[in-house]
């Protein structure tokens, strides 16, 4: 059995497992975003991360291009 097949079995090929995983991912990021607006947690919000790490114009333009490509790949491809 190859490594990839083993991992597929480990992960589970049931679509429900995948749906549960990605729903959890969205929930985690939503919670992080909400907590990022609570100062006492010292967690960053998405805006805080963008402000700190993506504030250079060239870097921001590149990130927006990547964002557009992700949208194209997920929603129209």
């Amino acid at each position: 059995m190859t490594v990839t097949t083993s991992m597929a079995v480990l992960i589970g090929s049931d679509k429900v497992v995948g749906l549960a995983f990605w729903s959890s991912v969205i929930l985690v990021f939503t919670v992080l975003e909400v907590l990022g607006h609570v100062p006492s947690t010292r967690l960053p919000s998405l805006e805080g991360l963008v402000r700190r790490y993506f504030s250079h114009p060239a870097w921001r333009a590149f990130t927006i291009a990547v964002w557009l490509y992700v949208g194209y790949h997920l929603f129209s491809h």
Binding site: T4, T5, M7, A8, I11, G12, S13, D14, K15, V17, G18, L19, F21, W22, S23, V25, I26, V28, F29, L32, G36, P39, T41, R42, L43, P44, L46, E47, G48, L49, V50, R51, R52, F54, S55, H56, P57, R60, T63, I64, W67, L68, V70, G71, Y72, H73, L74, F75, S76, H77
Partner: protein, 160 residues
């Protein structure tokens, strides 16, 4: 009759009414915008892949969000310049590490999904969001939100 009513403070009731009207002036447009986003996301979940409608709809929505984000960011940050605290960003490295860890886990899962043999379901995000319309709508809203943040967050200001 008082010749100068500007010196007299308004009655407390009038201040509360003004506060309510200011709040309503902000809440109603935000609610309408949220409703519009949800309607578009629901509509987007029905787009068929590899069609011009999906491509135009996706890029059109993205460009609209970018344009609105830039316009709102310029108006908002000109009216309320960021405080020194916001400029300094008080979040910890541990908080950044949590975000990065969540991204790494999601990316690892997606890569494992790409390596799935052909006779099994692919559990990648793109495969599953095509199969489940609610997930597709949720991802579309998340994508639009990320674009809004990228467009509305101000760029680094040059030091004079």
């Amino acid at each position: 009759m008082s010749t100068d009513d500007r010196d007299t403070p308004p009655p407390a009731g009038r201040v509360r009414e003004h506060g309510w009207s200011v709040r309503a002036g902000k809440v109603v447009p935000a609610a309408l915008l949220l409703a519009a986003v949800l309607v578009v996301a629901g509509f987007a979940s029905g787009w068929k892949e590899y069609t011009w409608g999906a491509r135009i709809g996706t890029f059109g929505s993205g460009l609209v969000v970018l344009g609105l984000g830039v316009a709102w960011g310029r108006r908002h940050h000109r009216a309320t310049p960021p405080s020194s605290v916001e400029e300094g960003s008080t979040f910890s490295h541990r908080g950044v590490a949590i975000w990065v860890a969540a991204l790494v886990v999601a990316a690892a899962w997606d890569v494992c999904g790409l390596l799935t043999p052909p006779n099994r379901n692919h559990l990648t995000l793109s495969a599953l969001e095509l199969a489940y319309r609610p997930l597709h709508s949720l991802m579309f809203v998340s994508w639009l939100f990320a674009g809004w943040v990228l467009a509305s967050t101000p760029l680094r200001r040059r030091r004079s």
